[in-house]
Amino acid sequence: MRYILRRFGFYVLAAWVALTMNFFLPRLMPGDPATALFARFKGRLSPEAMQGLREAFGFTHEPLLKQYITYLGHVLKGDLGISVAYFPSPVMKVIGTGFVWTLFLAGSAVVLSFAIGTLLGVAAAWWRRGWVDTWLPSALVFVGAFPYFWLAMVALYVFGFTLGWFPLGHAYSDDITPSWSFGFAIDVLRHAVLPVGTVILVTLGGWLLSMRNSMIAVLGSDYVNLARAKGLPPARVALRYAARNALLPSVTGFGMALGFVLGGSLLTEIVFSYPGQGYLLVQAVRNQDYALMQGIFLVITLAVLGANLCVDIFYLWLDPRTRESRS
């Protein structure tokens, strides 16, 4: 329990640091929201209207520290402010439109890629110099070395345009109204195949290799030899003895990968016109929409911290030594 509490304390601290950076980083960018607004009209906005707008948006010239304290207070109350780029929608609502899809996209891609990659890694290590071990790692690393953007465009072109197997974009068909039905779920899955598939394709190699390598190391250890000598079934030795221990480094990587994929979902979303938050972030930066930027960063940060907390708890189950260290 102490372990969990200590980890929890660490995450609260990390969240605070992230919040603070969230606040100050956008403000270090050149320009200000009013200039960006001006830019949106290419200057065709009368100075009087500009002044009116500044008032409507509530741009202030208060000292930064005071703004920071107000900001912290608002965040604690769950109020992320009003988006300038999507005025007058509150930031929560704007993020709400995209974040579920991004979480679905990135989450399923990471989980699937992790699961498949790890299993393949186990297989590659168990059957050393088998065909999985010989061909897959090099092939996947080769594919993973392509720029993601390019690979995604090719996939879209081949499977979307030329073969017509999968839809060309969006999270679900345009003529379907979202609902909790089987038909809608199938439709969402069909739309997710290409974006999720391409992310898996480029990330699979990493999981496979890391699992394979740590598994090979574990397979040489005494307790695995003992398990074999005891005459335990090979599947049990492979999964319960070797894989479970070899999994530890990969699990640590999993928490970090979620962060990368959430942050990097922008490219996927642009190629496949997926209605996620990646594009919102671009809009926010373009319009110097501090509130929206902060909101998106905050949600990403919280998601990554949450995932890492889950990983820590998973560790407890996976690795008895962490349980030992609590006393």
């Binding site: 001006f38 830019a39 390019w150 999270a171």
Partner: protein
């Protein structure tokens, strides 16, 4: 033209894919029902429901500004003439201090209530009460707006200001009965618009798509013939272009590189485009508060060092033409003074003359070949441009090469939009690319190029006139134009403005921007084209209502 609609950005992969996959035959994709026009104008990943035509706080969904709501007069920028729309007649009264408009009878709002001059007066009163709605700054010259009766409205001006008509005419009108109870019209999302335009009924509104149906009470009988407009969300230019090439979208206003090969050749019988040169003119702005750019001989020499033919070829795939000495785009064809163009040799590429001009102006080359200021400082300048705006970046490179021939080391420096804009607005630059300001007459264009009233001190952000040039002679002519209601006399004054511009060269014109429009005529008929140039074809042209002309002319096949 909104920023989003501009091309720029990562546009390399799209032509690449089309190049190596061009032979593959795309299967037919599910199409919209007959009569539903699929348009790609805004690039968004998901839609936010907003149909507020007045607010400047956010961009309302297309075509709120010309399609859902309507202006008093539509300005046809291809023909350079006004088309009566919600107003049918105008008249200047009381020594041009009062503008009287007669509104159209028989117009109904989409909820069936009648439109009247009182709605017009109400709308202008809203702009007066909420400054953030007054995007054209009409209350900078208006004194009061009153509805004389149901079909007559009087605009009282603070002073005689004839170009004020252009701003009044373009104002979109909202219904009094629906808007008088709106507490905060700046933040009002207007989810269910009540309007006079051809498309007012929101049939579908989801994250990824929305659809606008016909106005059941539209005042033009039998129109629009298009049943509905549908807007899929495409987040990038590449994606929108693919949709266009593969017959997913019927109409778009994007930049497409090598459009003949990439788009037209794909299906020559249906794929059409027309890029009339009616966009804003692109300039190289020299900071005229700094030495040596305060010298007209230097500005002209710089201009003559630029090979504009090469520039439009390299930067714009030859979609445009080199600018002439008036700097005006084809949107002002009715105003052009051909003698100014014929005599304007300072926009022709002539490196030898440019060099001798600088020599005779006393700017000698140093031993390293670079020219020097009288104080010995070598001519070493930066050309500012926006990163990702590939046409501007390429244009800057051509310019930089040209200036090298004059002994000027001009390096191209790209900035993020916001950073670039701040520098330019505050006058913190030597040379920068930039756009020009448009209007129905060349008044606005030259006003922002050389009127002393637009010159702000260095360091203070200025909406235009970034090069900070004021010409007393231009002030006189522009002032006279403001007080001149007679079209023939206005033409004479515009010729004056062009002559002054060409003589003083306050900025260096490069090329007029095209108005982008691509369309598919398989399902719809009636798009403007070079053969039938009845209006500007671009969906981006909503500023003064051009779009309405197209929307009411299209018909399903």
């Amino acid at each position: 033209m909104s920023l989003r609609a501009r091309f720029r950005g990562a546009g390399i992969l799209f032509p690449l894919l089309l190049a190596f996959g061009g032979a593959a035959c795309a299967p037919e994709h599910a199409r919209a029902p007959k009569g539903v026009l699929i348009v790609s104008q805004e690039q968004q990943s998901s839609w936010i429901r907003n149909f507020n035509p007045l607010t400047t706080a956010t961009s309302a969904r297309w075509p709120t500004l010309a399609g859902v709501y309507e202006p008093l007069f539509v300005f046809n920028s291809v023909k350079s003439q006004y088309v009566p729309w919600l107003a049918v007649a105008r008249e200047w009264r009381e020594q041009n201090r009062v503008l009287r408009l007669t509104t159209r009878r028989g117009v109904l709002w989409s909820d069936g209530r009648p439109f009247s001059a009182r709605d017009v007066a109400f709308t202008f009163d809203l702009l007066r009460r909420f400054k953030a709605l007054d995007r054209r700054g009409v209350w900078g010259f208006l004194d009061g707006v009153t509805a004389v009766n149901d079909s007559t409205v009087d605009f009282r001006f603070q002073r005689v200001f004839i170009p004020g008509f252009d701003e009044v005419a373009a104002q979109l009108i909202v219904p009094r009965h629906a808007w008088s109870s709106v507490v905060d019209p700046v933040a009002f999302p207007n989810e269910k618009p009540v309007a006079t335009g051809p498309f007012t009924e929101v049939r579908v509104f989801q994250d990824q798509i929305y659809e606008l149906g016909r106005n059941p009470h539209y005042w033009q009988p039998g129109k629009p013939r298009v049943e509905a407009l549908r807007f899929p969300a495409y987040p990038s230019n590449d994606r929108a272009n693919l949709a266009l090439v593969f017959d997913e979208a019927d109409w778009a206003g994007n930049f497409i590189p090598a459009v003949d090969r990439v788009f037209v050749k794909r299906r020559p019988q249906d794929h059409r485009y027309w890029f009339p040169l009616t966009g804003s003119s692109i300039f190289l702005y020299p900071n005229t508060t700094r030495v040596p750019f305060n010298d007209v001989r230097v500005r002209k020499a710089l201009s003559m060092a630029i090979d504009r033919n090469l520039l439009v070829d390299v930067a714009l795939y030859h979609y445009s033409r080199p600018a002439d000495a008036t700097g005006l785009s084809d949107a002002y064809s009715a105003w052009l003074d051909t003698t100014v163009i014929a005599r304007g040799d300072w926009v022709k590429h002539d490196l030898a003359r440019a060099n001798s001009m600088l020599d005779s102006a006393g700017f000698r080359r140093g031993p390293d070949g670079l020219r020097r200021l009288p104080n010995g400082k070598p001519w070493n300048y930066e050309i500012l441009t926006v990163s990702g705006w590939s046409d501007w970046v390429r244009a800057s490179q051509v310019i930089s090469r040209g200036l090298a021939g004059l002994g000027i080391q001009a390096s191209v420096r790209t900035y993020d939009f916001a950073a670039w804009f701040q520098r330019v607005q505050e006058g913190n630059f030597d040379l920068s690319l930039g756009w020009s300001f448009e209007g129905p007459t060349p008044y606005n264009f030259y006003h922002w190029l050389m009127s002393s009233s637009t010159v702000k001190p260095i360091g203070e952000a200025s909406m235009g006139n970034w090069h900070r040039y004021g010409s007393p002679e231009a002030d006189r002519v522009l002032g006279a134009f403001e007080r001149e209601p007679d079209p023939a006399a206005q033409r004479g004054l515009c010729n004056e403005m062009q002559r002054i511009f060409s003589a003083e060269a306050p900025a260096i014109p490069l090329y007029p921007n095209p108005s982008w429009a691509e369309y598919n005529i398989r399902r719809f008929d009636g798009f403007p084209s070079a053969a039938n140039p009845y209006a500007d074809p671009s969906p981006n042209k909503f500023d003064r209502g051009d779009l309405l002309l197209v929307l009411t002319s299209l018909s399903p096949r």
